[in-house]
Amino acid sequence: MKTFIILLQKEFRESWRSFKFLWMPLLFILLGITDPLTNYYMEDILNAVGNMPDGFSLSLPDFVPIDILMASTGQFQSIGLIVFVITIAGMINRERQNGTATLIYVRPISFFALFMSKWVVGSLLGILSVSLGYAGSMYYTAILYGSVDTMSFIQMVMSYCVWIVFATAVALMFSAIFKTAFATTFTIIVIPFGVMIDSLIGQYWHFSPWKLANYSVQLLSDTHNEYYIKTLLLTIILLILAIIIGILFTRKNAGTTKI
């Protein structure tokens, strides 16, 4: 427990000093406010740009708040998620490859504490970024399109955070198993590409972690989704599995640190 606290402190310090706790939330805020603003002002933007042929009239669909939050979620799920998981996928292997891990691994630490310290800090970084991103999106959505039920909104954000925490665990697991190049590749395939694949052919199954983000946004609507709880539970089970595998490989690959 004591080594966990020390390692946690170290991870926070690193993330703080490398400004991750600044730029990652900023990225998500930017992604979050893009959709409510651009969609609302699209007509004005097009008019301002001009050059519209005479008689051309653009009929933009009328959006409701949930559409905008869905669009913001789409931004998080692509650009945001890619940047986020790449950052996480280097947390363990990079230290082995540059040899900084060596002076930690020769000390009486547990690899459980080591992995968990990184998972906790990565997860908090993700949760903070996503929460602020959604807050930004909600702020402009509320001003421009109208509000949603506060409790449902909080539920949606928390539910999406479970997905981010899962993504953190998977990226860290790959970081423990492979060197950076492979870990990054596998993580991108499994997380952001996984989301894409699920949205393309996902109609054949009803619950998978990759659906959790969409199901979370659906919490805002009145329709009850019978698969939501199962998806949530499955995500949590896979998350725990990823953590266990990650810890085992952190220990197994300790000897690959540059000495």
Partner: protein
């Protein structure tokens, strides 16, 4: 006391460390000597717990987790560039169980000892090679380990840095057990109780400096000429087996032969001048070549 028995490491079918057995007595220092690729780093890595031995055991008097009792300085220590020397040393101390309230004081003390007092609040990314080596020593001793393991502690340093680090190690030697590796023999000469000669993963010779000297030492004559040409010329004319190095000629002494008088009688007729003649013992460097060389 640390007892190593039948320690073996196989990488891809090749025995990189091959059945090593030796003992490290408390309070002594031991040098693991061998050319590059002999298996020194691999051996030390197994002792630190970083690598799992393929075979064999490492035992320290009733200690379960040997990592608690050791301090390790890798050959090229790497530090987190975003931490200061003091922060890093304090953190590593705490990870080794130094109580939080003492950790900072203890870190300051060891940084003082290695001469980094004025640089302790600088980020390690600004450190030179010599400073990193000294910080490496600080983090290895911050928790007062029973065994200090150092991988080629001075190999990468310039002569001044080397002298500084050797002086630090000499001080540490007075109250700790030290195991260090080297391929430069002069280091071993100065500060070692036990020498372990490693060649292609095997322990080919072990003992105190005195034992090794007695076993391998031989005497020879060293004759200094004014030029290499003259030394070579002498070597071709001489009836004694002679080797030449720069302006020196060397003649082995076997069973007391040749005597100084016999040598003199050959030298006295030479048509060129001789600067110096002396009877010398082998340097440790030469013994090293004899033990682990071809």
């Amino acid at each position: 006391m640390i007892r190593i028995e039948h320690l073996t490491k196989v990488f891809g079918g090749e025995k990189v460390v091959d059945d090593l057995s030796f003992v490290l007595e408390a309070g002594t220092s031991t040098a693991l000597i061998g050319p590059n690729g002999a298996g020194k780093t691999t051996t030390l890595s197994m002792l630190t717990g970083l690598l799992k031995p393929t075979n064999g055991s490492i035992r320290m008097n009733d200690t379960q987790d040997i990592r608690k009792e050791i301090g390790f300085l890798p050959q090229y220590p790497n530090f987190y560039p975003w931490l200061t020397a003091l922060e890093f040393t304090e953190m590593t101390g705490k990870l080794n169980g130094v109580p939080s309230r003492d950790a900072k004081k203890q870190a300051e003390r060891v940084l003082d000892f290695v001469g980094l007092t004025n640089d302790r609040s600088k980020k390690t990314s600004t450190f030179s090679g010599g400073m990193k080596q000294r910080l490496g020593i600080a983090q290895a001793i911050v928790h007062k380990p029973k065994l200090l393991i150092l991988d080629e502690p001075v190999s990468a340093l310039d002569p001044v840095g080397r002298r500084e680090v050797i002086n630090l190690l000499k001080q540490l030697q007075q109250h700790s057990t030290i195991l260090y590796s080297t391929h430069i023999l002069n280091d071993a000469e100065e500060m070692t109780d036990q020498l372990l000669f490693l060649k292609k993963g095997q322990l080919v010779e072990q003992g105190s400096l005195k034992d090794i000297r007695t076993k391998f030492d031989s005497f020879r004559y060293k004759i200094q000429f004014t030029s290499k040409e003259e030394a070579s010329l002498f070597a071709t004319q001489s009836q004694l087996p002679t080797t030449v190095e720069e302006s020196y000629a060397f003649i082995e002494i076997k069973d007391g032969f040749p005597t100084m008088q016999e040598l003199m009688s050959q030298l006295i007729v030479l048509p060129f001048s001789i600067l110096k003649v002396e009877r010398v013992t082998m340097t440790l460097e030469e013994i090293f070549m004899k033990v682990v060389g071809q």
